[in-house]
């Protein structure tokens, strides 16, 4: 056990660092990728950026070469993600759905034709994916989903409604779970389909979030025809596909969250020196010092949790449900950290973008609101605790 980088790892890191220094888009020396209010404009920028990464072989570092990847290991993936975050480079677009969900689903359960057709275009960002899992009546209890897919010759006819679908407006494809056998027990009648988002019968209705943004949508399917060849894995075994991808290690992307949390903390520490409480810098207040130090401690430990998880995967080749611990940890600490940010800013913490006196264009209140999403999406904190108790600790099912 050690925390020393090998010379090969250092060479790889230097290579990533040099490429980023050369290729990060800049405008007169300043970073030229401030997130735009216009989602379409921002998406177009991200696609161009990822195309460059992909051409240089940086997208899909641990993916096999035949699908456009680099064919390297999880350690290289970790280093790459760290360097991207450290350079504050815009993240890979569609990473949480296309790269980390559709990718493993097709690599584990897809046909060779599906892999060749879809995987390279995920890495090059030519095609964007969304995820059609949750429904109004199927959130944490995902297996109770009601969207139907009925066979009609060489097609499935899909009818139903999905919710909380991120990036639906900008997506080319959707990885969908639908019921193909309503007489079977609920986990055994579900199939996984790849749906072209331009198919007739699909309606996307953006949903406004508590931040005022519309990153996710409701998606309605009304008799949508999906070719049979778009079935992933076997019919009625879609639950297995869903579990593979939901359990798929997100350890290397968690390092991205870790570095974001760390860099936000660094900014908060600076902020604490510039804002005043009772006529003195807030950073002189021992209570504020304790809270910021606690956040620092948690963020650093998150890093070592991730390193340990990654080293275990590199050894066993297999992720376990322990990734639930990492998800639970970062999402909960994000909430604690943003609460400290709000406390630091006092009355000004409530001011939103565009308001007079707003600090940093209201970014901390936006981050504060967003921190309420992390403990809900991709399996709420409560679901993560169920998984830990039942699958890791082996307690009886509730």
């Amino acid at each position: 056990m050690n925390l020393r980088r090998t010379p090969e790892e250092e060479r790889f890191r230097d290579e990533v660092r040099a490429w980023l220094a050369e290729n990060l888009p800049r405008d007169g020396g300043r970073p030229a990728f401030t997130e735009s209010d216009d989602m379409g404009e921002w998406m177009a920028f991200l696609k161009r950026w990822q195309r460059g990464l992909s051409d240089a072989g940086w997208a899909g570092i641990a993916w096999p070469k035949e699908y456009g990847g680099r064919g390297a290991g999880i350690n290289e993936q970790l280093i790459f993600t760290e360097e991207m975050a450290r350079a504050k480079a815009p993240n890979l677009i569609n990473i949480s759905i296309g790269i980390e969900l559709v990718g493993p689903a097709l690599m584990h359960h897809g046909t060779e034709a599906q892999r060749r057709r879809y995987l390279p275009k995920i890495l090059s960002a030519e095609e964007i994916w969304c995820q059609g899992f949750s429904e109004p009546g199927a959130g944490s209890d995902l297996a109770s989903l009601q969207t139907r897919a009925e066979m009609d010759g060489d097609y499935f006819i899909v009818t139903g409604q999905k919710v909380w679908t991120s990036w639906a407006e900008f997506s080319d494809h959707c990885i969908l779970l639908a019921r193909t056998d309503s007489s079977a027990p609920k986990h055994k009648g579900i199939s996984c389909l790849l749906v072209d988002m331009r198919s007739p019968g699909i309606t996307v209705k953006p949903t406004m979030q508590i931040t005022g943004e519309t990153e996710f949508s409701e998606v309605f399917f009304d008799g949508v025809r999906v070719p049979r060849e778009n079935l992933v894995g076997e019919i009625n075994l879609g639950w297995t596909v869903a579990m593979t991808v939901l359990m798929h290690e997100r350890g290397t992307s968690a390092i991205g969250y870790q570095i974001r949390l760390r860099s936000e903390l660094d900014e908060l520490m600076e902020l604490a020196k510039s804002v005043e409480r009772n006529g003195l810098p807030a950073s002189d207040d021992p209570l504020i010092q304790q809270k910021l130090a606690q956040s620092y401690i948690e963020v650093e430990i998150l890093k070592y949790n991730i390193y340990r998880g990654v080293a275990q995967i590199a050894r066993d080749g297999k992720p376990g449900p322990e990734s639930s611990i990492i998800k639970l940890f970062w999402s909960e600490m994000d909430r604690r950290q943003k609460a400290v940010a709000m406390e630091l800013l006092g009355l000004r913490s409530q001011l939103v973008k565009g308001s007079k006196h707003a600090v940093d264009h209201g970014r901390w209140q936006r981050a504060f609101l967003w921190s309420r999403a992390g403990t809900i999406y991709a399996g709420s904190s409560e679901i993560q605790r169920n998984i830990i108790a039942e699958r890791v600790l082996g307690l009886p099912r509730g």
Binding site: A293, V310, G394
Partner: protein, 400 residues
């Protein structure tokens, strides 16, 4: 980078766990607790036979020359077993102090028998004014007749009654409250003028003593290292000891969680095992999160200590802050989840609860270490409001 244990390290863990399962079951722990001295010679002899006292010391002193990570592994298993006795005080306090501060002749004289399990030692640091920095050391050592005379009182000295050698931090020069003028002395427990008074504590697996010195004469060759230059060494030992203690705490926390999970699977109420109730499941999930995160913190700190990295103080403070909170909370849940049984003397939950409390406050609690983290990451102002103590130090320096 490979932040996973090697197969050799896994083997060390397996052997340690197996030895402690056989030689240090809970009925032995309870027997030793009830005994006068809180020590089992058989257990000590078994550990010595395995080479544990010399594990981390170089081969030239009869040690095995293994690293701090290996030491942390063994400590973790000892904490899990709630192993009683003078291992921690001898190796982590006495042994590391000798390793860091003693000259060659002193190492041959004391470290060699210590590494062989033939000499026990401890460190006397705390005093009535409870502070963990150099300002906490006021016990006076005056030069007289070519040697030193010590006067003063040390508190909370672990296993002083078992130690052949008591290593004591004293002031040989300099104004009190500065980091200069602190010297470490290796003192024979049988020395005239040295008096031990047992302190009765909650955690009976580990004994604490008041050690007082009244005109105690100490030979000049018992001073370790440069006279007056002892504080940096003590600061280093405190970091290493804190990391070692955290390893024990992680082991204890693991054991409490194991006991709870076992109980929740078998205890039936309302017609079903209570482990099926989410209110309790979620508590155990949070316990596991804390255990795993504390492990990561401790292993990272142990790696840094083994590499003699400049990050060691920060990682030690991170580990001690986090693990102190984590073990205290987990050990409390250990009582709560066992219900009425958990509040009985017969059940082991309280033994871990008491050890967790003692460990939490040893070498500084979470609040103390968070304040250290705040200082090390630059949150406190060095150049801000002039600190009266620092001004005084400057005056002493320019005058001296």
């Amino acid at each position: 980078m490979d932040f996973a244990f090697t197969s050799e390290q896994e083997m060390i863990r397996g052997q340690a766990a197996e030895f402690l399962r056989r030689e240090c079951p809970m009925n032995l722990v309870r027997r030793v607790m009830a005994s006068e001295h809180g020590q089992s010679d058989e257990l000590w002899g078994g550990m010595a036979a395995l080479g544990w006292m010399g594990l981390v010391f170089p081969e030239e002193y009869g040690g095995a020359g293994l690293g701090f990570v290996e030491l942390a592994i063994v400590l973790e298993e000892m904490g899990r077993a709630l192993a009683p006795g003078a291992y921690f005080s001898t190796v982590l306090l006495g042994g590391l102090a000798l390793m860091e501060a003693a000259n060659e002749e002193q190492k041959q004289r004391w470290l060699v028998p210590l590494a062989a399990g033939k000499l026990k030692a401890t460190l006397a640091l705390s005093e009535a004014e409870e502070r963990f920095g150099p300002e906490g050391i006021a016990l006076k050592a005056e030069r007289r007749d070519g040697g030193f005379v010590l006067n003063g009182t040390k508190l909370f000295v672990p296993d002083a009654h078992l130690a052949d050698l008591i290593i004591c931090a004293a002031r040989t020069s300099g104004a009190s409250k500065t980091d200069e003028g602190v010297t470490l002395f290796a003192i024979d427990r049988a020395c005239d003028g040295l008096k031990l008074t047992p302190l009765k504590t909650m955690d009976e697996t580990r004994r604490l003593y008041e050690v007082s010195f009244e005109q105690a004469r100490v030979a000049p060759d018992c001073a370790l290292g440069n006279a007056g230059g002892g504080w940096p060494v003590i600061a280093k030992i405190l970091d290493l000891a804190a990391i070692g203690l955290c390893a024990e705490m992680v082991g204890g926390a693991r054991r409490v969680l194991e006991m709870c999970v076992e109980y929740l699977k078998t205890r039936v109420q309302f017609g079903r095992p209570i482990g099926g109730f989410q209110a309790l499941q979620h508590r155990t999930a949070d316990m596991l999160l804390l255990v795993e995160s504390a492990k990561s913190a401790v292993y990272a700190a142990a790696c840094a200590a083994g590499d003699n990295s400049s990050e060691t103080p920060l990682l030690a403070a991170i580990a001690k802050a986090y693990t102190s909170d984590a073990y205290a909370w987990i050990a409390g849940e250990g009582i709560q989840l066992h219900g009425g049984m958990g509040f009985t003397w017969e059940h082991d939950a309280h033994l871990y609860f008491k050890r967790a409390k003692a460990d939490e406050i040893a070498f500084g609690d979470a609040t103390h270490h968070r304040a250290r983290v705040a200082e090390m990451i630059g949150l406190t102002r060095e150049a801000g409001i002039p600190d009266q103590e620092k001004v005084d130090q400057e005056k002493v320096r320019s005058a001296g």
